[in-house]
Amino acid sequence: MPRINSPGELEKFRKDLISKKNPDKPCIAICTGTGCLALGAANVVTAFKEEIKKQGLQNKFDVVEIRETGCPGFCERGPLLVIYPLEVCYLQVQPGDAEEIISQTILAKKVIDRLLYVDPVTGEKIVHESEIPFYKHQVRNLIGNNIKIDPKSIEDYLAVGGYSALAKVLFHATPEQVTETVKNSGLRGRGGAGFSTGKKWEFARNSAEKIKYVIVNADEGDPGAFMDRALLEGNPHAVLEGLTIGAYAIGSHEGYIYVRQEYPLAVENVGIAIRQAEEYGFLGKNIFGSGFDFTTKVHQGAGAFVCGEETALLRSLEGKPGEPKPRPPYPAEKGLWDKPTNINNVETWANIPLIINKGAEFFTSIGTAGSKGTKIFSLVGKVNNTGLVEVPMGITLRDIIYEIGGGIPKGKKFKAVQTGGPSGGCIPEEYLDIKVDFDELGKVGAIMGSGGMIVMDEDTCMVDVARYFLNFLFGESCGKCSPCREGIRQMLKILTNITEGRGKDGDIELLEELCAATRDASLCALGGTAPNPVLNTIRFFRNEYEAHIKEKRCPSFSCKELIAYYIDPEKCQACMICLRKCPAEAIIGGKNRIHVIAQEKCTKCGTCFEVCPSRFGAVKRLSGELVPSPIPEEARTIVRENRK
């Protein structure tokens, strides 16, 4: 293993690496990120390896190479792979496809049509990854490298220019200059608060203490969000490089990567990356022979959402219960073990090498006046193309949902998009054209947060959404300060009552009062933002709250206590479909006998509604009205004219 002792040696090593690679050699890059693994990517990889042996290609130099990569983002269509240098992208690949891909695409250079992306509008088949609409509208500065490298191979990272930024700062910039560059880039913290990263570094740098710490916050906890996981799993060296640059700027020699234990692959890959970087001399004593020392360790969180809050994270790292501490003092003055500490989110750190390599001007050329660069979002929920998307700041929500996300499935109507995790807000249709940046989202009561984006369609009840997020926070508040603990407890009770038909006049006002106290008086940002889902849904969907409270009606037919299913006897053709499919055996009827739902048995799963053939449309959803009494037994027989 070569230890690299100077920037010159690094460049020479990199050149050797690249020259050894034949750019024409086909490479099958298979995503083995958590999403694709869950969809069976490991079996796909095995199938390819066996197929290569079977076809006797393993010893033939320059025939094909398999690369297991991190997540490129299009999780909806996994397991996916990209074949280089042709850049052919195959989606939903199964182990059984390996033989055909090897013999057709690799050996005969033919594209297999059935594995390509099909444009749902034009029906056109798209061959190249970059031309798929999901990718076409993205600017993938950070996650674009994921499919190009094997995260377990430092050589792959070096081949795409890795560690050149670190070499550059260690030999060509003072710590002050590095801090200044980051400040000038306008980079704001990607963890949620959006504070200027450069200023944060400066505070820690200006502390007179000798011992300082730098920390990667990889305690990503928002439901449905996985940006940091994809970066840490897919490109761990970029995060390490950013961290080491930050350590140099601040004057720290020790760092921690605080990653949640629910991310085993991220823990594994970043662990491997640290060992490799130490062997190459990119971490440890005398990095690149510059005299700068920096070591870092991985620390696994134990599954508390609140530990993503920086003061709680620090306490957890110290081995104490993860509870926030009042600020000031800020971690930049008194952080880990009371030493100055700088904490940044994974995505923030991953941006650093890019800023150093391409300059602050490059970074500021992307984005809006107040928010620069790109941001990764996890686009999930009722949207056709779910996955990770990286977009320039300032793109509209409409472009993300419709151009990249491909719109709402099954022709349903869009209702709202929830941004910013459990403490974020729901943005309705009328604001879809606002530009996505830290400040604009705040104006409509939502937040950027760490980048969760959940799309909701007409079937989503907004009161239930607020209840869902409050229920999450109910279990994840640390419980130390009373406005957060007790406020969330009571808000959840009221919301549950409303969704179960026990809402009272005055509940909305009481919720608003509780929200104000929780927001204003809580110790940390968890409590401070916990009322957001409630306030925001009241602001934009007050009519839904009122329908639940006053009419005991759920306009989205989602709250089970407030809805019923009913079979219209005039329309029922006694086709037996719903009767057979009902999992609760709640449908009474038979051949030529009009079907009736036994309301006391019905679990309101909605299966009958979905399976009733649309030409009959006999199953009705009711809410806020009485279920008509079933027709008498003797009237249920259908006499069919043509069979007389």
Binding site: P326, S477, C478, G479, K480, R485, E486, Q490, L514
Partner: protein, 204 residues
């Protein structure tokens, strides 16, 4: 120690560096209610009943007086519509747990809090943590701690330590604002020493 000048309720107050807003206010006889604060214990900032309004950077924020350090030129209001409203609702949340606590009842009267605003909760404890912190910081025995998190959080004695230490101390008893602590203690004692808990009261 340098001297710091700040304003509390319109009064110029001289404070020393490192003091909290609560200490500065109390030094000039301005009273701020507290539940989780105790002079002998490290500031904790959990009950938030001591919130005050602080002006700065063009807006006013609520901050817990017991953990907010004094700073030059700080403008503090210990009573305002926002402060009173917040304290009132916090009291109502506490009263759902301990409607008969004398301290809470007095404060409820002052702030017009309705003890029946929220449905009653099963536990009397308002998790001020005085017992836990007294045992850790003053008695240095760690016989009682918090378990669980969020809304499931509660205090719990550790029987192994209780059996060695608590009988001769009981220093935490008088600190409890809602008397929930005694209930927890007696429960543990009853479980640990099924016979001794039947001893006459005078021997305890």
């Amino acid at each position: 120690m340098s001297e710091i000048l700040l304003q509390i309720d319109g009064k110029e107050v001289k404070a020393k560096e490192g003091m909290t807003v609560l200490e500065a206010a109390r030094s000039v006889e301005i009273s701020i209610p507290t539940l989780c604060h105790h002079e002998k214990l490290e500031p904790y900032g959990a009950c938030r009943i001591c919130v005050v309004e602080i002006d700065g950077r063009g807006r006013s924020n609520l901050a817990a007086a017991c953990v907010t350090p004094v700073a030059e030129g700080l403008v503090v209001r210990t009573r305002s519509e926002k402060v009173d409203k917040t304290r009132r609702i916090l009291l109502e949340l506490f009263l759902a747990h301990a409607p008969d606590s004398p301290i809470l009842k007095d404060l409820a009267q002052e702030y017009g809090a309705d003890k029946d605003r929220f449905a009653k909760e099963a536990s009397f404890c308002i998790l001020c943590g005085l017992c836990v912190r007294y045992c850790a910081e003053v008695a240095k025995k760690n016989a009682i701690g918090f378990i669980e998190r969020g809304a499931s959080r509660e205090i719990s004695f550790i029987p192994q330590i209780v059996s060695q230490e608590c009988r001769k101390c009981k220093g935490c008893f008088s600190l409890c604002p809602t008397e929930a602590l005694q209930a927890a203690y007696h429960l543990t004692e009853a479980l640990t020493f099924p016979l001794s808990s039947c001893e006459p009261e005078s021997e305890k």
